[in-house]
Symmetry: C2
Subunit: 350 residues, 2 copies
């Protein structure tokens, strides 16, 4: 992998190094090898995550972070360049962002901030494997900084904070019987109409926070029930995903949901806190104003919440349309990759 | 296995020969071996089904039939005798009926009807394995008779005809999206409320046929949908089981259901015709009057429908509560086994 080529080709090279979560050794090796050649960086490896730090002697330090893993391929590996776009697995999420960070790491030899570039493993899977989580737990000093820029795809604009996510199951119970003598039973599937009524009547809350309108959500994501083709089922489980704005804690969100579904068995499955917008932090405010892009709330959950938990204000800024992440037609505009690169370079060296 | 012991012990012996569908060789061997010792029977084996025919020279012939397989064990194998009941897998469905038939075959050496005893394999699984179906297709002359008694559990009363069964799937479709940006999608689970509305508003038809009131049914038996915990699902399938009375054909029932669910994708999965009550047949009428038991419609589907398809009028009569069939607590009253035996013996030899 040659960092000294144009960003589109560097992105394609990164796409073509397979790095499905838990299988990031090759890409981590390539990144470490390339960065070690660069004199102004101090490289630390933690498992398959690579930390590269400048030491220009600035008072303030920013982390520029991106994950190097992808979800499994979906007929979109290897990638290709076609006119104005880079196609392929991870082109959006988030190897174009990694390409930008690598090029910044290589080319910026003096700047207004010291920079800690973080290329981390296993963001797409459970928290216990997440490279950022691992470093936060084991070598937190590697992340000492004033704020962080997370290069998750934002379509080239700035996205502040992120909504939290609650996953829970509600279930109905009935009485099993032979379906030929159904009057001896009580059909748990038929009873789910009351759950659907709640879902269909739900009105999304849209609180404005630091000038940005968030939008909560309540969506059934799975439904499962049934015993056999001739049995009235006695149990159905519906998995529901609730997205909540940064003014709400996990506890509050859980209480809200328990109240909403008070007539049903309720089982919390997992929960991830929201992240504040960070706009009360003067450095983030300055960054936003200097970059001069549109600012929107981040609806999806990202590792800015993990940074927030570690006490680090963070903001999302990266190339690529998040709606194309994890998509068979994943692709990113080359102009957007270049634009994000130029914006960050100008800000760092202005 | 010794046929010359009391019915309860013979039932227990049969229960204790494992004979889950497709694994009936042992029990078929035992039955064939025991019956071959009896001089007045002509034995024919078709795969793991045993046919035993008397040839007393009567003008009329009855088939007395029962299946020898069971569903898989459910903590109810081996069986036991406890006071007044035989417990265990198949005690109801239908080894107590098999015990009655074996004892009749052994002890009745002259009667008003010639009898063809049929002990057949694989009733509990797909039609293509069913021993009755196999003989009907390959050696139908073995089943030449005037009518048939099927010893499926009826709790010791007479049950006429059987309802038909239709299994079909209806599905909703939506548009997939990330659940954090749910407004880009269309939730197929949320849309199933319209299907549930139809199910919950369904009024069961209860036609009276030959003096017996049937009771149709419409029950969801399975529901399945969902992609992942963070995806608005674009498809949900609900499997529905419709039970219909003997005045309705499979075609009519299918048309009725297609009409009812006209707003949804509709996929027929399988269909089994209903069987008429048989009460227009003078021999069945005479049998019913002679046995002198309560008469009720059969709500569950049984192989009387398979007999009906082969042009053979048939009636259900056997020991055991059908609600305990396929049940971990499967058990049968010994008094009921004896009663069914005495009723059939008296009718055959009156």
């Amino acid at each position: 992998m040659n960092i000294n080529q144009e960003l589109s080709k560097l992105t394609l090279d990164l796409v073509n190094i397979s790095s499905v979560s838990k299988d990031e050794k090759s890409i981590a090796d390539s990144i470490a090898e390339a960065l070690k050649k660069i004199g102004h960086l101090k490289i630390t490896r933690v498992n398959n995550s690579i930390v590269a730090q400048t030491n220009f002697g600035n008072k303030q330090r920013v982390v520029i972070a991106g994950h190097i893993d992808t979800v499994p391929a979906n007929n979109n590996f290897p990638g290709k360049i076609n006119n104005s776009e880079v196609f392929g697995l991870g082109s959006v999420d988030m190897k174009s962002g990694i390409a930008v960070a690598l090029k910044l790491a290589s080319e910026i030899t003096s700047s207004n901030y010291d920079v800690t570039y973080l290329f981390y493993e296993s963001e797409e899977i459970e928290t216990k494997f997440n490279g950022l989580e691992l470093i936060t737990k084991q070598q937190k000093d590697l992340l000492d900084c004033d704020f962080a820029i997370l290069m998750e795809p934002t379509n080239g604009i700035l996205e502040v904070g992120c909504q939290g996510s609650l996953r829970f199951e509600v279930s109905t119970s009935g009485k099993r019987s032979h379906s030929a003598r159904w009057w001896n039973g009580e059909n748990a599937i038929h009873k789910t109409n009351k759950i659907l009524e709640i879902l269909n009547n739900y009105k999304s809350r849209e609180p404005e926070i630091d000038g940005h309108k968030f939008r909560e959500g309540l969506q059934a994501v799975k439904v499962n029930g049934g015993i056999a083709g001739n049995v009235v089922p006695d149990s159905v489980t519906i998995s529901i995903n609730h997205r909540f704005a940064p003014d709400t804690s996990i506890d509050q969100a859980t209480q809200n949901m328990k109240k909403l579904f008070k007539d049903f068995n309720f089982q919390l499955v997992d929960a991830a806190n929201a992240a504040p917008t960070g706009l009360s932090n003067p450095l983030i405010k300055e960054f936003v104003s200097n970059i001069g892009k549109n600012v929107a709330p981040k609806f999806g959950w990202t590792d800015v919440a993990r940074f927030a938990n570690a006490g680090i204000p963070a903001i999302n800024f990266g190339p690529g349309d998040p709606n194309l992440a994890h998509h068979p037609e994943e692709k990113v505009l080359i102009s957007q990759i270049n634009d994000v690169y130029e914006s960050l370079k100008n800000w760092l060296t202005k």
